[in-house]
């Protein structure tokens, strides 16, 4: 111990002695340069103050408060916000909501957002609903300091498959996602848990962004389906997606966005019959699509006038399951056991899309319409059509009331008239949603 102490003392003394060595002119110059650099990097505000003193700036005679008063959030609290989403279903033939309510709280979303450290930002969105309880809607870290204009997200997020899927449901211009998204991915769209890597580039002079994801699975786990082997047992069973965004300013008031994307992964597909507790097969599902958005908003009258025309079309291919035969024909998607197993015998290819338009009629009022067409997987590819009209009113930026009328025509059965009213509000510093 004494030896260690002596060693430390001698090192400290040596350091001090080095500090006392007479400086050479070169050292002095280097130190002077460093000092000058540090002065140059000094806080801009301090420099402004100094300049104001030197130049005899006009003294303030009003009760003004100078901006540089210190941090506005000294406890480094994250931003907390909440969004309420209420839906009333006034459809003449009964409620068309999943939970059968006529008037219900569809969801309350709680968000916590902040910078984590100099390298990451964190965003957590919790969804609360009577039907699902509390669920993690999104929770991800986003890098803020990667080079080469790269951005990496780690966590759960809305997947970049098409345009509307990346928008929270309560923030849609319509009450519900387009049917093609609902039928192919579920009523709350496609989410994924994994990695999201994106890069912005402009080799041709316009904005382009490539978005790549790798996620744990492409469909939520359905506890009633048992395949005997996890969909993500191999890396090939994970979900992978790619999207290329292209954006052009046509002029200062109009712009165009065209994107193409693809998603592939493995999901459980129910079989017609079961063997033991095996009642489903892991089946590869691949979806691809194109989306197109045209926007018009004259800059000077932008508070009062705007127009959006948007369309998305996608195709989904899934192995369908029609029976079971012995294992040797089953290949890699089946349980690694020597029992009769189910097998995919054919492939389904379903497609669908929508066209949506929205026109601003007043500072707070919008009208919109959407036409949907989708080959419905629930009806073996039979085509569902729907036409809907919307009236949106924004009392402020933080609240919205939407009225919707829809004529819904499923492939089987009679057409349905739907009338929905939606009210949403946002509390707190809810972060703006992507353009």
């Amino acid at each position: 111990m004494r030896v260690l102490t002596a060693l430390c003392l001698s090192m400290a003394a040596a350091t001090t002695m080095r500090g006392q060595v007479p400086t050479t002119p070169r050292d002095s110059a280097a130190r002077a340069k460093a000092k000058a650099d540090s002065i140059a990097r000094a806080d801009s505000i301090a420099l402004v103050r100094e300049l104001e003193k030197l130049q005899g700036a006009r003294p303030d005679t009003t009760s003004r408060v100078t901006g540089a008063q210190g941090p506005t959030n000294p406890r480094l609290l994250p931003d907390f916000s909440a969004v309420g989403d209420f839906v009333a279903d006034l459809s003449p033939k009964g409620s068309t909501q999943e939970d059968g309510t006529r008037i219900g709280v569809r969801e309350v979303e709680l968000a916590v957002q902040a910078a984590v450290d100099p390298y990451f930002r964190g965003d957590v969105f919790l969804g609360i609903s009577d039907e699902e309880g509390i669920s993690i809607e999104q929770a991800f870290l986003t890098t803020t300091a990667l080079p080469h204009e790269l951005e990496l997200k780690i966590g759960r997020f809305l997947m970049p498959v098409g345009k509307q899927n990346t928008t929270h449901r309560h923030d849609l211009h319509t009450v519900e996602y387009p049917y093609v998204i609902q039928k192919f991915f579920g009523p709350e769209g496609q989410k994924g848990t994994g990695l999201w890597l994106s890069r912005v580039f402009a080799p041709f002079g316009f904005y382009q962004e490539i978005q790549l994801t790798m996620i744990d699975r492409i469909a939520e786990k359905n506890d009633s389906l048992e395949t005997g082997v996890a969909v993500n047992r191999t890396l090939g069973g994970l979900g992978y997606s790619a999207r290329l965004r292209n954006y052009w300013d046509l002029n200062e008031s109009t712009n165009l966005e065209v994107s193409a994307w693809g998603l592939t992964g493995v999901r459980e597909e129910p079989t017609l019959t079961a063997v033991g507790n095996i009642n489903a097969l892991n089946a590869r599902q691949t979806t691809g699509g194109l989306d197109f958005t045209f926007r018009w908003r004259p800059l000077q009258q932008g508070l009062y006038k705007s127009f959006i025309l948007q369309s998305e079309w996608m195709k989904q291919s899934t192995r369908s399951v029609s029976g079971f035969i012995p294992g040797p024909l089953c290949r890699d998607m089946c349980p690694p056991v020597a029992i009769p197993v189910f097998v995919a015998t054919e492939r389904t290819n379903y497609g669908g899309g929508y066209v949506f338009a929205r026109y601003q009629i007043t500072q707070r009022g919008f009208i919109g319409a959407r036409y949907d067409q989708v080959q419905d997987p629930e009806f073996a590819g039979g085509t569902t059509h729907a036409g809907s009209a919307y009236l949106e009113f924004f009392p402020s930026e933080f609240s919205k009331i939407t009225a919707m009328y829809e004529r819904y025509a499923p492939p089987a059965g009679i057409d349905i008239n739907r009338i929905l009213l939606q009210a949403t509000f946002a509390l707190g510093p809810h972060k703006p949603h992507p353009f």
Partner: protein, 303 residues
């Protein structure tokens, strides 16, 4: 090889979008045209400058277009008004740009408001029942020439910090800007004398700093609360206020719908005066000095 080719194509393409002056060293992007103009005045040929918003556009409601991301991704300086004026779109652009230099904490993140003595900093509890209130203070500070000087000095300090070799140029340009502003200001003596104490109505609180400078007396606002459109009941009360105070001018920005202002004017005999709040707000008002000069002279002429 492919990488070099891509870089060549990218530089050619971007070169077509923004012709950089020879010798430019700092890439400056500003949120408004006013900051852009003052930055150009101070930076001269040592910077390239671009702006996101236009002068005839409401700066609260700018769309976060991806094309703006391209401007920001290589920027050395991002200068913005602050005080939550850009809260609705700036976070999207900064996230999209993936440029650590201009993120909060980066060397190029320049919140101009931090050099400004502020008006309308709320006291006590603040919530959205008060409208689009700015909890940190009124952000429309550039409409006071003294704040124009402060902005110029702040740019000089920031540019010097990032480009020490240009210190002398920035210093000279800043002094020149102040000298030109002083010269214009000296021509307003008659107008300011005429304006002082006169009652007017403004559409939005954006004219508070201008009023502090000119000593014009804003007796009411077209908006019942910041950002809230006029209601019939509010306009009825405002008409009474104008009759009582003798206000004869309604000042408004070019991006608001003037129908309601015309309605109030018709019931009070007042004049609706559209003034540019920013550089480029009206044709022919192409720099900061012109904005201030135009606004002071037009208001004086209208009173």
């Amino acid at each position: 090889m492919f990488r070099k080719l891509s870089l060549l194509i990218a530089s050619l393409a971007l070169g077509g979008l923004a012709a950089s002056p020879a010798g430019a060293q700092l890439k400056v992007v500003t949120s408004t045209t006013d900051l852009y103009d003052i930055a150009k005045a101070v930076g001269g040929n040592r910077i390239t400058a671009r702006h996101i918003g236009e002068g005839y556009q409401d700066p609260h409601f700018i769309e976060a277009k991806p094309s703006f991301v391209l401007q920001l991704r290589n920027a050395d300086v991002w200068a913005f008004v602050g005080l939550d004026l850009e809260i609705g779109w700036m976070p999207l652009l900064l996230d999209g740009a993936r440029n650590p230099r201009i993120r909060q904490g980066g060397s190029g993140y320049l919140d101009v408001s931090r050099a400004i003595p502020l008006l309308d900093v709320p006291r006590g509890n603040v919530d959205r029942s008060q409208g689009d209130v700015h909890p940190l203070g009124n952000p429309h500070y550039w409409l006071d020439p003294e704040n124009g000087r402060r902005i110029a000095r702040l740019f000089e300090a920031k540019f010097t910090e990032l480009d020490p070799e240009g210190a002398a140029v920035y210093d000279a340009n800043e002094k020149n800007f102040e000298a030109r502003l002083n010269a214009v200001e000296r021509t307003w003596a008659d107008e300011l004398g005429k304006i002082k104490g006169q009652p007017i109505v403004a559409w939005h609180t954006s004219w508070r700093y201008f009023a502090e400078y000119t000593k014009v007396n804003i007796v009411g606002f077209m908006e019942p609360k910041p950002g809230v459109p006029p209601s019939p009941a509010h306009l009825a009360g405002l008409i009474q206020t104008m009759k009582r105070t003798g206000a004869k001018v309604i000042v408004m920005e070019p991006f608001y719908d003037r129908k309601q202002a015309d309605f109030v004017a018709a019931h009070t005999g007042a004049k609706v005066l559209i003034l540019p709040p920013s550089v480029g707000g009206l044709k022919g008002v192409g720099d900061y000095l012109s904005v201030m000069d135009y606004d002071v002279k037009q208001l004086a002429a209208a009173l």
